[in-house]
Symmetry: C2
Subunit: 625 residues, 2 copies
Amino acid sequence: MQILDLLVGKPLATTDERAERIGPAQGIPIFGLDALSSAAYGPEAGLSVFIPLGLLALQYIVPITAAIILLLVIVYFSYRQTIAAYPSGGGSYTVARSNLGAFPGLLAGAALLTDYILTAAVGISAGVGALISAVPALQPHTLGLCLAVLVLVTVINLRGAREAGIAFLLPTCLFLGTLFVTIGGGLIRTAQSAGHPLPVTPLPPALPVMQAVTSWLLLRAFASGCTALTGVEAVSNGVKAFREPTVKNAQRTLTVIIALLALLLAGIAYLVRVYGITATPAGQPGYQSLLSMLTAAVFGKNLFYYVTMASILFVLSFSANTAFADFPRLCRAISQDNYLPHAFGFRGRRLVYSYGIVILAILTSVLLVLFDGVTDRLIPLYAVGAFLAFTLSQAAMVAHWIKNRGAHWRRSILVNGLGATVTGITVCVVLVAKFAEGAWITLLFIPLLILFFMRVRRHYRIVSKRTTCPNPVVPAAEGPPPIAVVALSRWNCVSKQAVEFASRLTTEIIVVHVKPGSTPELRKADWQRYIEAPFREKGLPPPTLEVLPSPYRFVVLPIVQFVLELSRKYPDRPIVVVIPELVEDHWYEYFLHKQRGRLLEWLLVAHGNERIFAVTAPYYLGATK
Amino acid sequence: MQILDLLVGKPLATTDERAERIGPAQGIPIFGLDALSSAAYGPEAGLSVFIPLGLLALQYIVPITAAIILLLVIVYFSYRQTIAAYPSGGGSYTVARSNLGAFPGLLAGAALLTDYILTAAVGISAGVGALISAVPALQPHTLGLCLAVLVLVTVINLRGAREAGIAFLLPTCLFLGTLFVTIGGGLIRTAQSAGHPLPVTPLPPALPVMQAVTSWLLLRAFASGCTALTGVEAVSNGVKAFREPTVKNAQRTLTVIIALLALLLAGIAYLVRVYGITATPAGQPGYQSLLSMLTAAVFGKNLFYYVTMASILFVLSFSANTAFADFPRLCRAISQDNYLPHAFGFRGRRLVYSYGIVILAILTSVLLVLFDGVTDRLIPLYAVGAFLAFTLSQAAMVAHWIKNRGAHWRRSILVNGLGATVTGITVCVVLVAKFAEGAWITLLFIPLLILFFMRVRRHYRIVSKRTTCPNPVVPAAEGPPPIAVVALSRWNCVSKQAVEFASRLTTEIIVVHVKPGSTPELRKADWQRYIEAPFREKGLPPPTLEVLPSPYRFVVLPIVQFVLELSRKYPDRPIVVVIPELVEDHWYEYFLHKQRGRLLEWLLVAHGNERIFAVTAPYYLGATK
């Protein structure tokens, strides 16, 4: 327990909940890291599609970024309304389920869960990837570094929401600060040079024009750039984490996140245009990230450049944190409807949904290990889930407004309807543009997850049906007394304790002794003197001794078989199997004894029936307590 | 169970033991692989010391090999006598313990156990190393290959002694066959060329003479060459594995192994001399193993060369098998004297000591993982253990003959005394010559192992003392009836079953219900209607309901605390805690329910006392059986 205290902190009482709630200052790093960090890869993803256009690309950057920012603003107003309508947490799952029905809800839930797992894996590996391109000597340790970051994020999240917010506040500020300084500096230089600033550090030359502009290319650039929007739904999912006034705080947080993201996207796009920066092909010699080129062009490669790069690297690695904040909340919402194991609803020591955090950590580590920490190829996959959830949640909001016609319901329908239409089109674009690159994996995984939800729900329904009990207890039912079966290996204090307990339960005791070798370990003299004689002296029927042969040297199986046969022979009598247990002082001493008692109990429960009861009769080696 | 059947075979009855015993044909691959495979590295280890001597080395090869063969013959006669004197298995441990006392026995046991772990790790990594020098593309998979070989050897050994013998017979024959053909061919060429054969494939040039011959160099070469003797004690340890006549079969096996080894060593040394082969520095470009150079010199690099190399590679990898045959037997012998957990004495499904095999596999895999599959540096360590055990076992035999003066006892003392003296000197030589190279690790590990033996023995003695019971059972002791505590979460069939069982045990029932949230899950109406009312109707005292608050949302801990307090309050009454258990149809369904019952039982046993009994009341979800 003390190790746990140190690692994840002392338990918090349920009544401490209010103190664990957060305001916008912690809300931005917790729910915004994913969205904000996408400024570091979204524009680059879009520009990379334009590489074959060479310098021709420059004229398309601003219009495409404008389209993405417009989409962002539509999605923002749409989610603002959702937060107000669902103050107890209006994730896409909840909203879609309560307005469109169970299946659309599960579809949104599965899409989001998939997306969060991918976000966590891609975020961590992107951050570590950035670190490695700065310090190539670390390359052989890629996977180890990824897993170390994963463990760190997991532990911070297990410690509770407030601590996670505090831990990530400073790096988020640094990231935003350096980027805005860069953008501001770039704008000043542009103004000073009448719109044609010269880069401080020379830029890599643009590649020659190899292709004409097609609308297909523009569409693909738009679809790739849309990855900048992932993570926007996070706040609406976690409204309950905010302190009073909950809705206002959540909306404020969302507003700040979206405004910052839009400014970043616009600033980056404008400077890329005026400095004439083109993307370099990733994974090839001479590759440099877009933000690296931009910062170097504005200020040169000085200390500020390295601080900026470090903060980008940090924010990318910890963008996984948003997934850790939302995945457990979503799992809990789904488990409350019996579609996921109920354990997801259990709040751990620090009032967070520990199971969800641990499961996400396990799934992420599986992805990281499978891809050796290089999850680049997963990036195209993860916009699909996010946009599918966006579309469903906004379509659901339209249905919501039609049912609940409050003030301005027409305007609300318009906002959410526009959002649903635009994001719906984006899903199709992303799917078509990236199907071959791996989006099909998402399309395969989501139905499997939905199938799993259905199976879990079905299981809980069956359990509930079969255990529902319309009949009251029948106390002290008449009938023959139980038979006690005591499993003994030899005569000692442990055996004495077990036989005495059995003798209090019933007058019919069977002592079973397994004889794997040729001579039984329970000596005849001991049996007569210590067990049989005292019963006779008291005028009680003595226990029967059953020596079971064991040609295959198994000790536990013969006892289980004997008990099952006994139960078939006396179908009306309960059988109480008494298992003597030597309790050691130290846990490691258990390795010195064969743990047959545990195995016997487990097999009896697994193969037994409702008239077979297993009792542990403990004997304590240490001082009697 | 079916997977186990397929993997390690169907269980064998104890009465099948005779059929599982082996003759010399299986004995050679099982107990001889280690010794015979050392022909592949022993001579090379000796020659490597001579590298600085250049061609000067050639004149010292034959005398040093002669000394090693002489030592081998002395050890052979010595072990022959040991086998006859200890027909039930006369490993160094048994012999030293029964003649010299407990401590020398433990020293020999610890030395041998250490040696076997090293043998297994070094054998496997040497084999995989040979494979990799043949196919360098496999280099990144070194550790994976090592672990695969380890798993294979483990499974083959778990399948039983006979199958292991059969599996390794063919490769052993191939290894011996190709080596003897090479030696024979070499001798014929030598005769044809009047003692000066020309190599078919030119040899790498000898390095220039860089050092004068010193006696220290000769000693070091002898100590290194002595690794060829490791594994010789294996047969004496496993006498019981042989079929009748046990002693004769074991002695025959030992004779064949030693004769083959001596011939190999002599043949290799002679040919090295006449062909003028010098060792090449290991781990440097141009390295070639001694046997590779020899085979290529005699027959050239044709198909036969590659078959020979393949068989050497195979035999090296599977020389680990000898460790797997002996380590479990030795552990069992030590555990019979209470110095190791008794589980080592348990014979598994296939009549082998499964625990020993599994523990050896685990320890070996730890070594392989720690050293990334490159255990070259461990080679110097593992002659120390073997020779220490040789010395102790033979000194013990001298003591044995003094006590039991049979026929020829003087001659026997002479043989064993000579053996003890010579191997004793060898231990000192090896220790001094290799102390800095790593032999000190062995010197550190052996005492730790002995300390562990002592602690285990002490624990068993305490347990035996504290559980020895001079008093007979007190049947159906008078006194107040037990209190039954039933832990319920809500009303259902599982709860009904548990309460009914409790009502058969006693009239005083306490139902505990933990309320982690604000509303209890056990509804008041259910409690009154289904549990309280039927007791009242029958005129019985109804159970008491205890609702336990849980500010930290723990469910199991409050129940444990309640039971412990109850037990303090009523120090004279037994408490039976009834744990309702829903038994699922399929094991994987357990993940869908919180396993609180198991945790409750475990905590009750760990923190409870001898008056607290935990009963599992199972309710079966499937068809009633």
